[in-house]
């Protein structure tokens, strides 16, 4: 028992450093996903046929191929092919970011489509261009309504980030595996790793819930 505890305590600083790497991957990926996702959602709702078609292909591709395959495909295949020399950390972040962009675009698209169409018409009737109406009227509302879905996506990407281990990114999972295979304290270390993921999920989801309350529109029951 004491043995187990000391194994965990000894490994903890090392694992917590890994947690910082995990947090880096997740924030980076969610950020990339947010930026690409918003653009794709707007393109899919308001764009012409070519744009809608291109976004559709993108979404089908990233939703249809396992994350593990995507990581290998891009890191060992496509990035090398186009001469992009990325670290394992950068590559994992980028691939997870492109993947979550596909899912996030559908969260935002759903939120945009759920808005009453009349507000867009009213904005145009006031002389706003479609672009201005989307920026000042549509997105501020659609993004608010996307927070619950986005929080769900955060918890999924956080756990998918463990796959970055296979590229050699030294995040929580890679470090747990490293210590466990050296000290043979498999059970306590993977329990610790699991707890770290759980805590990060909980903290993130809670923070997003707070954000949701903070930006709630007064009197509005959605």
């Amino acid at each position: 028992m004491f043995d187990t505890l000391s194994a965990i305590l000894e490994a903890l600083p090392y694992l917590l450093e890994g947690a910082l790497v995990t947090i880096g991957i997740v924030i980076g990926a969610m950020g990339i996903g947010l930026i690409i996702g918003i653009h794709m959602a707007v393109g899919q709702v308001y764009g012409n046929r070519v744009v809608r078609w291109a976004v559709g292909i993108y979404v089908w591709f990233f939703r249809g191929v396992p994350v593990l395959v995507l990581l290998f495909l891009f890191y060992f295949g496509l990035f090398a092919l186009i001469g992009l020399n990325l670290s394992a950390f950068a590559a994992s972040t980028l691939v997870l970011g492109m993947t979550t962009a596909a899912y996030q675009s559908q969260i935002f698209r759903g939120a945009i489509l759920s808005l009453p169409r009349g507000q867009f018409q009213a904005a145009r009737a006031l002389g706003m261009s479609d672009f201005k109406a989307i920026i000042s009227i549509i997105l501020p509302q659609a993004l608010r309504f996307s927070i619950p879905g986005w929080s769900n996506e955060y918890s999924i990407i956080l756990k998918d980030s463990a796959l970055a281990f296979v590229l050699g990114t030294s995040e929580i999972m890679a470090r747990s595996h490293f210590v466990a295979s050296r000290t043979y304290h498999h059970l306590p270390l993977y329990i610790t790793a699991g707890c770290l993921y759980f805590i990060l999920t909980w903290l993130g989801v809670r923070a997003l819930l707070k954000l949701e309350e903070k930006v709630r529109i007064p009197g509005y029951a959605h």
Binding site: G118, A122, A125
Partner: protein
Amino acid sequence: MPTKKATTMPQEKPILRVENISKTLGGKEILKSVSLSLKKGELKVLIGPSGAGKSTLLQCINFLLPPDSGRIWLDGVEIQNRRKRDLYAFRQQVGMIFQDFNLFDHLNALDNVSIALRKVKKMRRPEARDRAMAELEQVGLGDKIDLYPAELSGGQKQRVSIARALAMDPKIMLLDEPTSALDPELIGEVLSVIRDLAHGGMTMILATHQIAFTRSLAQEVIFLENGIILEQGTPAELLSPDACTRSKDFCSRLDDLYEEKG
């Protein structure tokens, strides 16, 4: 009477001229070559059964629905709706009021009115705020500026939307059944704002089923059915009890309906 038109040319020059507007939606011809014109300060009322094309006509006038054919002039200048810049400039001068208000749900009353001033007219925040404040006071909502649409009654929402349109200094206003979505006890407050506008000389096209209001204020009644203007004339000509017009029949049927409800 064409001679009359020729002699009083300066005053007769219409501020809005709509010629031969046609629109087909979903394979159905909604508007069939509709023409009308408005002089400055005139209030014309569009009546007609639902599905007649009233909404479509109003939305074609500011190109929210681009007409399939037809031409539109504002102040003698023909609108080229393909030129985006011209279109946006034109829409700023045409206030639009919708049946279901279409306020921006995430903005309070003040920001609903000021956002277009800032984003479209490029006014600075404090000036836009002052102007929005003044417009909201004008419609009797000076004490409600911080409330969000979800916290306002239907009548208040419609008054905010009128303030929002007026803040842009429109040359004409298009009102698409502004009281149809309101509870009966809230209709009065909105009609009274529209009445003030009419007395203040605002040029307006109003689609409505409020016949009494039409009788007392409209310069002209336009009866639209199946996408064509069937009758057109003063309320006295079309709606007086002894007039033999479709408009009168339609209106007395409406009156019966409301009496039954009451």
